[in-house]
Amino acid sequence: MGSYVVRRLLLFIPALIGASILIFVLMRLVPGDIAEILVYQTGSETSGVQQKQIQQIRQELGLTRPVIIQYLSWIGGAARGDFGKSYTQRRPVWDILRERFPRSMELAILTLVLALIWAIPLGVISAVHQNGALDYVARIASLSGLSLPLFVTGALILYGLVRVFHWIPPLEFVPFSEDPVENLKQLIWPALAQAYYISAPITRLTRSQMLEVIRQDYVRTARAKGLAERAVVYRHALRNSLLPVVTFVGWWGGRLLGGLVIMEIIFVVPGMGTALVQAVSQRDYPTVQAMVFVMAVVFLVVNLVVDLIYIWLDPRIHYA
């Protein structure tokens, strides 16, 4: 068990190095850099002066060094928790992360909670009434959740809010600690839209697992000894069908931070996704690299935690 965790943690290293190299190289392939953007914005007169300025900024930021040296100094800093300074915001990337990470994390958790409250009971109902009317309704509801792309659901909800409630997304973000009601009012809509989308596969998986488990001998035994149908379904069948659902939810949970971009854009949530999109367009390399790095770490850690939960839930599973 201990050695399994250590081995998994060791696999993080090549994954993170590979992922960070990929993003590092991609960003440097993007035409134009921050020096050009800054200089052409201010609009100095002659191109000779501009060229000099561009060279100077590149020198200051260390962009004239070979890419390998740039990468090594970046990964060295990242390993010690120093992500450098943002080119555009002129403050440490850590400050931006500290501000944005909790917002996206809150949205992600809210989304997962909403998705689970709705998806698992729906999957159970669907399985218990297999091929009945309720089953068809549940299957079509979940399948259409999967078919409506995120931005369509988001746009429709936004349209409804604008039309019916004359509500427009607030431009200021209110932290949960300051005013929980205002905060939730802002985050509940993107969370609902995203939750509808990810609940579809959870419902389908719960249903198919339930269908399999409900035919097992121990479920028949539970019925035979005269347990109420409720206890049979929830205590005996559901518990044993949730295992694959846990893995799946974990996979989605790890992906959620990066997948929230679209919701953050539609509902003007100043989280990591919006910051990333902006940083890519402004060639703010340190911010992009740090955010992607954090997202990759979250993904790997969540996956590991889920696998550990899996072992804990099912004593039959052993990893050497």
């Binding site: 696999l11 090549p14 994954a15 993170l16 190095i17 590979g18 992922a19 190299i21 990929l22 993003i23 991609l26 960003m27 392939l29 993007v30 035409p31 299957r139 399948l143 259409s144 999967l146 078919s147 409506l148 792309p149 995120l150 931005f151 369509v152 746009a155 429709l156 936004l158 349209y159 604008v162 039309r163 389908r204 198919s208 269908l211 399999e212 992906r255 931070l257 990066g258 997948g259 971009v261 679209i262 854009i265 539609i266 990333l276 999109v277 890519v280 367009s281 992009v288 992607v292 997202m295 990759a296 993904f299 790997l300």
Partner: protein, 278 residues
């Protein structure tokens, strides 16, 4: 004819999906004949509501929304099919060959797959598009990069099972060449998984294409991408809601149909799953 009847009875949802897919393909192929105007032709008044002349209204620069929706089917299908065929094929070859060769090659290739999969797909596609430049073919390239590692991982796990089977050992024992074993024994046995990957990923590719256009990183804005049309619609959400509804409805229907169709193909090709998911 009897087959069609049996399909309808066994897989009614799949048949409905197949019908939607057929309509989608027909619209995509016949786009130049069906669309009353060109997709980039901005020669009308902007923000005209739906009418007999413009059944889906006009957009912010005075283009006919219906014509753009029709041409959008062609763009979506082109991007979806081409990227999936290239991405899944490349990934499958990669996964099957590394599973067969094994050893350090296999371990190394799995670490590359780990690295790509640790990145959020939309963010990776966004960075790729920034580096490559915005064009329809670069969207395809970005999608190929996203799809290849996923396919490599799936096919590898299938291929590992095949490699361990007795008939593979028999093939080796009679002295079949490596190339012959891979092409005649390994590949055909991964075919079912390959078909499932292709059919289930077309809708995913279409959604990613539209999502990229939606965040302004996909095909150039004048291309008729359903995702890009939705972005423009959100800017005018109060004055011109038809700019959201029609492209939104089209992409949802297309994805719905492709999912239903893909599901039933999976059920048919994989007997273990027959009647299971859905």
């Amino acid at each position: 004819m009897r087959d069609v009847g049996r399909l309808l009875r066994r897989q009614p949802l799949g048949a409905a999906g197949g019908l939607i897919v057929f309509v989608l393909i027909a619209v995509a192929v016949l786009a130049p004949r069906l669309a009353p105007h060109g997709p980039k032709e901005a020669s009308f008044a902007p923000y005209l509501p739906p009418s007999v002349e413009f059944p889906m209204g006009t957009d912010q620069v005075g283009r006919d929304v219906m014509s753009r929706v029709i041409w959008g089917a062609r763009l979506s299908l082109y991007v979806g099919l081409v990227s999936v065929v290239f991405g899944i094929t490349a990934g499958s070859l990669w996964g099957a060959v590394t599973a067969y060769v094994g050893g350090a090659t296999d371990i190394g290739s799995q670490r590359i797959v780990d690295a790509v999969m640790a990145l959020p797909p939309i963010i990776l596609a966004l960075a790729l598009m920034a580096a490559l430049g915005q064009s329809v073919n670069n969207v395809i390239l970005a999608l190929v990069v996203l799809l290849t590692p996923t396919a490599a991982r799936t096919i590898r796990s299938v291929a590992l099972g095949v490699v361990a089977s007795p008939y593979m050992e028999a093939a080796r024992a009679v002295g079949a060449s490596r190339w012959r074993i891979i092409s005649r024994h390994l590949m055909p046995n991964c075919l079912a998984a390959y078909i499932v990957l292709v059919t289930t990923n077309v809708s995913y590719a279409i959604v990613v294409e539209a999502s990229l256009s939606f965040i302004g990183a996909g095909a150039p804005p004048d291309e008729p991408s359903w995702g890009g049309m939705l972005t423009a619609g959100i800017q005018a959400i109060e004055t011109a809601p038809w700019m959201i509804f029609f492209p939104g409805l089209s992409i949802s229907l297309a994805v719905f149909g492709l999912n239903l169709f893909g599901d039933s193909i999976r059920d048919v090709t994989d007997p273990r799953l027959r009647g299971g998911l859905g």
